[in-house]
């Protein structure tokens, strides 16, 4: 069987509506990367284990490699290029940089998506660490990522809402 059947899919990507023709078997990650030019959409394992593909779908972190693009019809998708709150995005970038939370950078977008979720929901630190455990990093040893998120949570608490 060939991919003769194409579906029209429309979703909001980083605030802009995208309309695409996709074969059902194409993953959201594949489509975001190859069709939409989102370089943060990356496959690390294709099994949901590593989280390199994590994107925000309707406000929650989702494994992009386990979602067919056709399923995202009507969804509000955010990638690490443009999180919903620009101030929060800037703060996350700043904290990641400051705490050396990046080495090769391949897993970084996925961790940024998790960080945004943690901040938006003001998770307590132990839950934040559990949440960050969803994704793999092989370079940094994680503790810089945890430091960055810890600082962001503290800033958020100080400022009442949003860093």
């Amino acid at each position: 069987m060939e991919d003769t059947e194409l579906h029209t899919v429309s979703f909001k990507l980083n605030g802009h509506v995208q309309v695409l023709q996709v074969a059902p078997r194409r993953s959201l990650t594949h489509v975001l990367d190859q069709e939409c030019g989102m370089k943060s959409a990356r496959v690390g394992c294709g099994q949901g284990d590593c989280g390199s593909c994590t994107v925000s779908v309707d406000g929650v972190p989702i494994r992009g490699c386990l979602l067919f693009a056709v399923q995202a019809d009507g969804a509000d998708i955010r990638t690490a290029e443009a999180l919903a709150d620009p101030a929060m995005l800037a703060a996350i970038r700043k904290a990641f940089k400051k705490h050396r939370a990046i080495q090769c950078g391949y897993c970084t977008p996925g961790f940024m998506i998790l960080a945004e979720y943690i901040l938006r929901n003001a998770l307590p630190l132990d839950q934040a660490v559990q949440t960050l455990s969803a994704n793999l990093c092989r370079c940094t040893g994680y503790s810089p990522i945890v430091s960055a998120v810890t600082e962001l949570l503290a800033l958020r608490a100080e400022n009442g809402c949003g860093p």
């Binding site: 060939e2 991919d3 074969a23 078997r25 194409r26 990367d33 190859q34 989102m38 370089k39 943060s40 990356r42 496959v43 690390g44 394992c45 294709g46 099994q47 284990d49 590593c50 390199s52 990638t79 690490a80 290029e81 970038r93 990641f96 940089k97 400051k98 050396r100 990046i102 080495q103 090769c104 950078g105 391949y106 897993c107 970084t108 977008p109 940024m112 660490v129 559990q130 960050l132 455990s133 793999l136 990093c137 092989r138 370079c139 940094t140 040893g141 994680y142 503790s143 810089p144 990522i145 945890v146």
Partner: protein, 796 residues
């Protein structure tokens, strides 16, 4: 700028996903390659039937081993013995399938999904043979050795001193057997390659390069019979290297072959399950040590016997890892007499290569376990036994009188004792031990482990760099070394900025492009900052001089009236930035190139070293091990960017904790790999990470290079297996001695069960027996336990 923890230049692009990872690159008219792999561990290949695949939608070509018979196998970067060349891996299998994952056919199609569809239609007709899965096939097994008789293909012997006399005179002979499971690096980005054929001449650009682009260029040109200048390797971003990425693998040659044959760009992206089958594995050593020891715990002689399960073929690193294990096993200890014998064995598994601290992670584990065994046997403090055996500062530089991969092992500088005492004081080891003991008294299972190590920063190859004033007024630092996430762009730019006295934003680093610089040794063995950095240091001196001369000529002043200053030059009181200078040059003397090239080589390796102290807590019921605290003191000579050094140590240590407690590649009895996903190959996650305390020491600059540098990449992982194992042993009050990595809860359960039930020995008699004899010891005795018993209480 050297010595400052400036922000990384790499980060802004990485945080904005302004990246060039090979997976997201695309070229017009590009085809996609899918590799059909052997489903068998061992089989005689009869035919590969490709007709159906060739007819499948989108397929442009399907090729099998026979179609590329004339292409030679991938060579070694160093040929230690021409006899070994027969064990190289062909690009695709011809007559025999030797491991699950061995390339059998390639499919080229217009779309990666279609390529995989067609790959499923390739049929492999083969006669299945029993696999060889152990170093020495057991006499009772049905396995048919890969080679007639036995599967040992190489033997490495090293040594010095009178070992027999040392053992004859020893008060004690202490023996241990250690084992390190098969592991691999698993960078988060899998491999990938895109070959883009040149339009008007034979040749191609290869994207996705890393680690050693120049060496790979040479090998690709050789295999494909091309002029070396017609092969261009291009490095973009690379999602982690750790030794495994960037070696030349069959797939790299196959994309290039296909692109040349079809005249179209060809892309291949490895998927994760392929990655676990195809990328180099590593470790997988058994190490048996016999030590001749005095009453006071001083080692007079050490006899090491190693066996490495090399997998199915020899790849670019041939038998190097075993060689490194033998060479660095004595570590920071004097050891007046030493003999090492390593045997290398082929098995029906994925071939092995280097992985961060290759040979040293294994050797340090065995050596440090031996020191702890000596301490236990003689009722001495393990730290005191280390003190009594350390090489002293007065003996530096210390000549080991053996070679590592053909180079003399000379420890360049340092005071091991001083560093040990510094670590003990800084981390308050006595207090750590006291607190652990108190917690043990209260029923917790907590322990402290100390390990020492000597690393090696490779200087075997020379390194050329060029500084060049570009048309936009930036000084380009052109190097063939590679960015794998470690922050080399930042560190090397700091060295250039320091050398020229200009701000970091005056520079742009160009890396991993083989058409931009003629030579590079590459990025491995922690060499980049030392080698490329030293060359940059020299090049910036030359560049500075040229800058002054050119500016003086341009403005008709003497060189004495020009200083390098601010954003460029100060000429007779007038400031000029580099862009203005470039513009002035373009007007007045357009042919003037402001270029400085320098080449650095060093006869001697630099040897950073350090101390790891781990604190672990074992759950007495389920026997899971949590590393609570981790301390590293690391002597690096001079830290270009201390934060980046710390980042390397921390990241390496966590990878090492994975190697100590979790990571193991395993196979079924018929040679099927059981660990082909992250669900089965367990690596650390955030919840597994301890609190860190890292001390970067700069007390002993290396005399091997002008800046006094030593490498940073591998000191974090080197002793992690040793320190964690020692801590686990301590947590059980030394009633068990874990000598096999990883220390999983199940392995601890078995170890404790054996301690409960069996007769055990504190140490073995030293044996000079036959290989078979000691090999049978290996099987029974990795994880041998000492004579105390302790039950586990499932209900606590």
């Amino acid at each position: 700028m050297i010595g400052r923890s400036v922000d990384r230049l790499e980060d802004d692009d990485l945080l904005r996903a302004n990246t060039r990872f090979v997976g997201s690159l695309a070229f017009e008219d590009m085809l996609h390659m899918h590799v059909v792999r052997s489903p068998y561990a061992h089989a005689r290949l009869k035919t590969v039937i490709v007709d159906k695949a060739a007819m499948a939608p989108g397929v442009i070509a399907v090729w099998v081993g026979n179609d590329i018979r004339d292409l030679s196998p991938i060579g070694f970067r160093r040929v230690p013995d021409r006899d070994l060349l027969q064990y190289r891996q062909r690009l695709m299998a011809l007559e025999e399938l030797r491991y699950v994952g061995e390339p059998v056919a390639i499919v080229l199609a217009t779309d990666p999904y279609l390529a995989e569809d067609a790959g499923r239609l390739v049929a492999i007709d083969a006669e299945i043979l029993p696999p060889v899965l152990d170093c020495e096939p057991r006499p009772d097994s049905r396995s048919e050795p890969l080679l007639r008789g036995r599967n040992e293909i190489a033997r490495i012997e090293k040594g010095y001193g009178d070992i027999e006399a040392a053992f004859a005179a020893a008060d004690h002979k202490i023996s241990i057997s250690c084992q390190i499971a098969r592991q691999t690096a698993v960078p988060l980005e899998t491999r990938g390659a895109i070959a883009v054929p040149h339009a008007h001449a034979a040749g191609f650009d290869l994207y996705g390069a890393a680690k050693v682009p120049h060496a790979n260029r040479q090998e690709l040109a050789k295999i494909l019979s091309l002029d070396i200048d017609s092969v261009v390797l291009r490095e973009g971003h690379a999602g982690g290297g750790f030794g495994v990425r960037g070696e030349l693998y069959p797939e790299d040659v196959l994309v290039a072959f296909a692109a040349l044959r079809l005249g179209r760009p060809v892309k291949w992206i490895e998927d994760r399950s392929e990655h676990f089958l195809a990328i180099n594995h590593s470790r997988d050593q058994m190490i048996h040590l016999d030590a001749a020891v005095s009453e006071g715990g001083v080692i007079a002689g050490l006899h090491a016997r190693l066996a490495t399960d090399q997998g199915a073929y020899l790849r670019t690193h041939e038998i190097k890892v075993s060689d490194l294990s033998c060479a660095f096993l004595p570590g920071p200890y004097r050891i007046p007499a030493y003999r090492a014998t390593a045997t290398v064995h082929l098995t029906n598994k994925t071939p092995c290569g280097t992985y961060r601290a290759p040979g040293r992670f294994e050797a340090t584990f065995a050596m440090e376990r031996m020191i702890d065994a000596i301490a236990a046997a003689l009722a001495l403090d393990p730290v005191e036994v280390r003190r009594r055996n350390l090489i002293s500062a007065a003996e530096m530089p210390f000549e080991r009188k053996i070679e590592a991969t053909g180079k003399r092992v000379v420890y360049d500088s340092g005071d091991y004792r001083q560093t040990l005492e510094t670590a003990i004081e800084a981390f308050d080891l006595p207090e750590l031990r006291r607190a652990a003991e108190e917690r043990r008294r209260e029923g917790e299972c907590v322990g402290i482990g100390v390990a020492m190590f000597v690393e090696k920063t490779d200087t075997a190859l020379h390194e050329t760099v060029r500084l060049e004033l570009a048309s936009d007024g930036k000084i380009e630092i052109v190097t063939g070394t590679s960015s794998l996430g470690q922050g080399m762009e930042t560190a090397l730019t700091q060295i250039a900025a320091d050398g020229l006295g200009l701000p970091m934003d005056a520079f742009r680093l160009v890396r991993g492009q083989t058409d931009r610089i003629a030579q590079s040794g590459g990025t491995f063995a922690s060499r980049t900052t030392l080698m490329a950095g030293s060359a940059i240091h020299e090049a910036s001196r030359i560049f500075r001089q040229k800058l002054i001369e050119v500016s003086a000529a341009l403005y008709g002043v003497t060189t004495g009236e020009v200083t390098v200053h601010g954003e460029g030059c100060c000429i007779d009181g007038r400031s000029l930035n580099l862009l203005q200078l470039r513009a002035a040059l373009d007007t007045a003397a357009p042919d003037t190139q402001l270029v400085a090239e320098a080449d650095f080589s060093s006869g001697a390796m630099a040897c950073p070293y350090g101390v790891h102290i781990a604190q672990v807590k074992v759950d007495p019921d389920d026997l899971s091990v949590m590393v609570e605290k981790y301390h590293i003191a690391y002597e690096i000579g001079r830290a270009v960017n201390p934060d980046l050094v710390r980042a390397q140590l921390l990241g390496g240590a966590v990878q090492g904790i994975g190697g100590a407690l979790m990571e193991e590649i395993s196979f079924s009895a018929d040679g099927q790999p059981l660990t082909i996903s992250f669900a089965h190959y367990v690596t650390p996650r955030t919840v597994d990470v301890p609190a860190f305390d890292i001390l970067v020491l700069e007390d002993w600059p290396s005399p091997t290079n002008p800046l006094g540098l030593k490498g940073a990449g591998e000191g974090g992982i080197n002793a992690a297996g040793a320190a964690v194992a020692a801590a686990v042993e301590d947590a059980f009050g030394a009633t068990i001695a874990p000598r096999r990595l990883p220390i999983t809860p199940k392995s601890l359960f078995d170890l404790l069960a054996r301690t409960d039930s069996a007769h055990t020995r504190a140490s073995w008699p030293a044996r000079q027996g036959s290989a078979t004899e000691w090999d049978s010891h290996f099987r029974n005795a990795a994880d041998d336990t000492s004579s105390f018993c302790r039950g586990i209480n499932p209900a606590r």
